[in-house]
């Protein structure tokens, strides 16, 4: 009897956490992507390039400056669970792809917003980098799944 209750509790908490990931995590992801779509549509003629030298620089604009954007987005329980299943069979881990994409878009959008606020209308030399805050590369520790992205770019005023 006691054993049965234990098994029921284990399964119950697993189902609860998967449900939490499905409903709350899914809702948070959808609203984040909607928010990103909305903010990105307001960028207008802002130009983002990743060439090393700024193009069409305006002569009377403010001096160019370095801008950095960070975003750390956590995985939810369902995503982590699906990824561990995927790890058994191999193939594309779709649940993590959207996670990385959200972190990159968020970090880049933060740069664009900073640049516009400071009166710039273009950034060049965009560099993206993943940081390991969750400790996936640290031996002997169960890591948290998250996407930590650091983006740097040079903001300048573009002609025309």
């Amino acid at each position: 009897m006691e054993n049965a209750i234990g098994i029921l509790l284990t399964i119950g908490s697993l189902v609860f956490m998967l449900g939490l990931g499905y409903f709350v995590g899914g809702w948070r992801e959808r609203s984040h992507i909607q928010d990103l779509d909305r903010r990105e549509s307001g960028n207008g003629d802002f130009v983002i390039t990743q060439v090393k030298t700024a193009m069409d620089v305006s002569v009377n604009g403010p001096p160019p400056t370095l801008l950095i954007g960070e975003a750390v987005i956590a995985s939810d329980y369902l995503k982590t669970f699906l990824a561990s299943l995927r790890n058994l069979f191999g193939g594309e881990v779709r649940s993590y792809r959207t996670l990385m994409e959200r972190a990159r878009r968020e970090a880049l959008q933060r740069i664009v917003e900073q640049a516009r606020q400071a009166g710039y209308n273009a950034v060049c030399n965009v560099r993206m980098q993943a940081a390991d805050v969750g400790g996936s590369n640290v031996a002997g520790k169960k890591a948290m799944v998250m996407a930590a992205i650091l983006v740097s770019a040079t903001a300048y005023r573009r002609e025309g």
Binding site: E29, V72, I73, A74, D132, V133, S136, L150, Y156
Partner: protein, 108 residues
């Protein structure tokens, strides 16, 4: 001080190179933030505490780099790069490095 991650600065010419400057920092958040992040891992979403952690570390690393450039008598840092490394879970090492130079506006 002008800090950029491009090799040149539009509207300026490099008149002297002062050498590489660097700054680094390892920062961690208090345990409460780590526990909160653990819960966030169930429901997904942005980990504001860790975003803050990256922002603070990056600021500190850049400040240290700029202090070094100032000491060398430079007025700008070009070609700035960042790297991060994993020291332990919940902490971030941020390393910023660039080339300290003296910039001047070209004679019209």
């Amino acid at each position: 001080m002008i800090v950029v991650n491009t090799e040149t600065v539009p509207g300026f010419v490099v008149v002297a190179v002062k050498g590489m400057v660097q700054g680094n920092t390892v920062r961690a958040k208090h345990a409460g933030r780590d526990i909160a992040a653990g819960f966030k891992n169930l429901v997904g979403g942005e980990l504001k505490g860790y975003t803050e952690l990256l922002t603070e570390s990056r600021r500190q690393a850049v400040e240290r780099m700029m202090a070094q450039a100032q000491q060398l008598g430079a007025n700008a840092i070009v070609n700035v790069r960042f790297t991060t490394s994993a020291v332990t879970a919940g902490a971030a090492e941020l390393y910023a490095y660039g080339t300290a130079v003296v910039l001047q506006e070209p004679p019209a």
